[in-house]
């Protein structure tokens, strides 16, 4: 902890004084933090606000909830207000309903008497509180777990297939000499330049003909082999000395065994990078699942998020809560594996 603290408060100026470069660099870094974390933090805060609070203008940073009270004769809890002006000044009343500029209110102690109050005269009693029902509703009203499972299944299976297929292709392209090897590599790398949207229609037709529409496999299979992955792994595998493979051949290892026992373990840094990238790609993928999956029960989280946005209304509170839950796995992946990303990319693509 002490180390982190001293790192975070390090200055160029001596004796704890701030050099002008310290002001500039800390200012710059702080701005970066704000730009990057600001929206995420706002999202997190908003996901705990109820619908009314989200719509409120001007917006407030912290989520507030209005205090409510159970009043005899009313089914739902009523919102509490302090009356600050007019006839009932100084009293604390519960609102039954609001009609135009006038609110119908009731004193919790005298539930039978209805009072009419000018809405300008009341002031809501609020406190900081979390609208957790945004989250619980996801599980109760929407089949969040189903979407989550779909997304997880697609991500895990697609990543496993991607790693398998790409590493085998990369092994072939990096460690075997054969006619057409370079042409093959050029085609693979060249396909990086074709945007997905261009091949969307043919890809859709192929997927349809193979009968994979509206199934999770239709999302998984077409995107399994990625040129980026093949290229990334190939570049890394080129750095594994051929002598090690020769040694394994002298040790009577089959080519499959060389791949499985020598190449794969030695390529772990690159494979980790690809795994992380693949998880992010699959998890965040929107366009292709949107095209392939049309039935609600096959929706991924991203599609489910999209479906919250109706033509007429958008249920922002649930949408934001679900967005937070959707972000969490990716954030965890980054948090725990970021050192692999840095070292892996440094030792593969960047060189």
């Amino acid at each position: 902890m002490g180390k982190i603290a001293s790192f975070l408060t390090a200055t160029r100026g001596k004796n704890g004084r701030m050099d002008w470069t310290d002001w500039v660099s800390y200012g710059y870094l702080l701005m970066g933090v704000l730009v990057i974390f600001g929206p995420v933090l706002w999202l997190l805060m908003s996901s705990f606000k109820d619908e009314a609070e989200i719509q409120r203008f001007p917006p407030r940073f912290l989520p507030y909830t209005q205090e409510t009270i159970e009043v005899e004769g009313y089914d739902t809890p009523l919102a509490l207000y302090d009356i600050v002006a007019g006839e009932f000044e100084g009293r604390r009343l519960a609102q039954i309903r609001r009609v135009g500029l006038v609110a119908q209110m009731v004193d919790p102690n005298e539930p039978d008497v209805r009072l009419k109050v000018d809405i300008a005269d009341r002031e809501a009693i609020e406190s900081v509180g979390l609208a957790t029902e945004n989250y619980t509703e996801l599980f109760e009203k929407f089949s969040f777990l189903k979407f989550f499972w779909n997304s997880t299944f697609i991500t895990v299976v697609a990543t496993a297939i991607t790693l398998m297929v790409n590493s085998m292709a990369a092994f072939g392209l990096s460690k075997y000499q054969f006619r057409g090897r370079n042409v093959m590599l050029m085609i693979v790398v060249g396909s990086l330049m074709v945007p997905q949207t261009v091949v969307l229609v043919p890809l859709f037709i192929v997927t349809k003909e193979l009968g994979m529409l509206n199934s999770l496999w239709g999302v998984i299979i077409p995107a399994a082999a990625t040129p980026t992955g093949v290229f990334l792994l190939r570049q890394y595998m080129l750095t594994i000395p051929d002598e090690i493979l020769d040694a394994a051949r002298m040790d009577k290892a089959s080519e499959w065994k060389i791949f499985w026992r020598i190449i794969l373990p030695l390529s772990v840094p690159a494979i980790a990078v690809l795994a992380i990238l693949s998880v992010i790609w699959r998890w965040n993928d929107f366009l292709w699942p949107l095209i392939v999956l049309s039935e609600n029960e096959n929706f991924t989280l991203q599609l489910a998020l999209n479906s919250f946005q109706g033509e007429m209304t958008t249920k922002w509170s649930n949408l934001l809560a679900m967005t937070v839950l959707t972000l969490l796995p990716i954030a965890c992946v980054f948090f725990f594996l970021q050192k692999y990303i840095a070292t892996g990319i440094a030792s593969t693509g960047g060189k």
């Binding site: 002598e243 020769d246 040694a247 394994a248 040790d251 009577k252 026992r261």
Partner: protein, 359 residues
């Protein structure tokens, strides 16, 4: 009898021929060293024997069986690589047992063999470490251990000592020699270092640009080199070469480029008057003597205490090295006379470089 035979073995990469037909018979149990300057094809030849490199022509015979089309794994050989090529992600134990696992050896047998070999090579303390935690010498031992544990018919070494420091190299040289005595297997060893070749080999094959220059025991090569290349390559420091021609008047005399005359050691070869020849004298055969016929200017002197080396040149600039035992009084800049016994001289044809037999 795991002898290895090469019969007219060739290798080309496209139009470039790198091994130009080599014939060689290595008897069972022999320690054979392939030596030559870098790029001479010695490592390629070794890889061809191992099966890692396909051959373009000729036959490779191991134990009387032509193995041209047998995969490297099935030739029953083991190879120690220049870079050691240990599996970096495996412990020493796993490195040693990997080959045995691949041939389906029982777990108990593997453990026993790994144990025995690691004790023999004194790496039993290191079994649970990974290669990156070992020193160069230790890695070398593990690499050798990995070869030994599989009990191959023939061992192949590809410049195994070139990454070690000088002291360790001398130690490991001795150990590999001892290993050969203990195991009695055929070993083929590639090096560019003629000292390694001389000290370790039963037989040396000297290679130059894909061709076999000479094959024989170390002393055969030293005493009777077939040409200037072998003569210059074997022996340290290098043999001195002095150009000259056979005297027109007296075929028994040699006129050197400097104009000095030297009596030919013998006239047993079919020499012609005026024929260009090269005289070869080893540095330790050339000694300062006041009455000797060659005069040289000493440029630098190395005093090693027990030995001294004089470097200098003849009048026409031909470089001369003298290795004399003991300490010398000669100082740089001095002009001295040197000579050699006739019996220690080598005579080569200047054009072809081949030895002219002196009988």
């Amino acid at each position: 009898m795991a002898g290895v035979g090469l019969r007219g073995v060739r290798k080309s990469y496209g139009a470039v021929e790198v091994i130009k037909g080599i014939d060689l018979e290595i008897a069972h149990g022999e320690f054979c060293v392939f030596v030559g300057p870098s790029g001479c094809g010695k490592s390629t030849l070794l890889r061809m024997i191992s099966g890692l490199e396909p051959i373009t022509g000729g036959d490779i015979v191991i134990e009387g069986e032509i193995v041209n089309n047998i995969a490297a794994a099935d030739r029953g050989l083991a190879m120690v690589f220049q870079s050691y090529a240990l599996y970096p992600h495996m412990t020493v134990r796993q490195n040693l047992s990997f080959g045995l696992e691949n041939v389906g050896t029982a777990k108990g047998d593997i453990a026993a063999k790994v144990d025995a070999v690691s004790k023999m090579l004194q790496i039993n303390e290191l079994l649970d470490r990974r290669p990156k935690d070992l020193s160069g010498g230790q890695r070398q031992r593990v690499a050798i251990g990995r070869a030994v544990v599989r009990e191959p018919r023939v061992f192949l070494f590809d410049e195994p000592l070139s990454n070690l420091d000088a002291e360790l190299r001398v130690d490991m040289r001795g150990e590999i020699g001892a290993l050969h005595k203990r195991l009695g297997n055929t070993m083929i060893y590639v090096t560019h270092d003629q000292v390694e070749a001389m000290t370790m080999a039963d037989k040396i094959a000297v290679l130059r640009s894909g061709e076999l220059e000479q094959f024989g025991t170390p002393l055969e090569l030293f005493n009777n080199p077939t040409n200037t290349f072998v003569a210059g390559f074997i022996g340290s420091p290098k043999m001195n070469f002095i150009k000259g021609h056979v005297d027109h008047a007296d075929r028994a005399m040699l006129v050197l480029a400097t104009g000095e005359k030297v009596a030919l050691p013998a006239t047993g070869f079919d020499q012609k008057p005026g024929q260009n020849v090269t005289l070869g004298i080893r540095p330790n055969d050339l000694q300062p003597a006041p009455s000797a016929s060659l005069s040289m200017v000493v440029r630098s002197v190395e005093q090693l205490g027990t030995d001294s080396y004089l470097y200098g040149g003849l009048e026409d600039g031909t470089a001369i090295t003298i290795h004399s035992p003991g300490q010398t009084q000669v100082t740089p800049g001095e002009k001295i006379h040197v000579g050699a016994a006739a019996a220690s001289m080598h005579l080569f044809d200047t054009e072809s470089g081949n030895t002219l037999r002196i009988s």
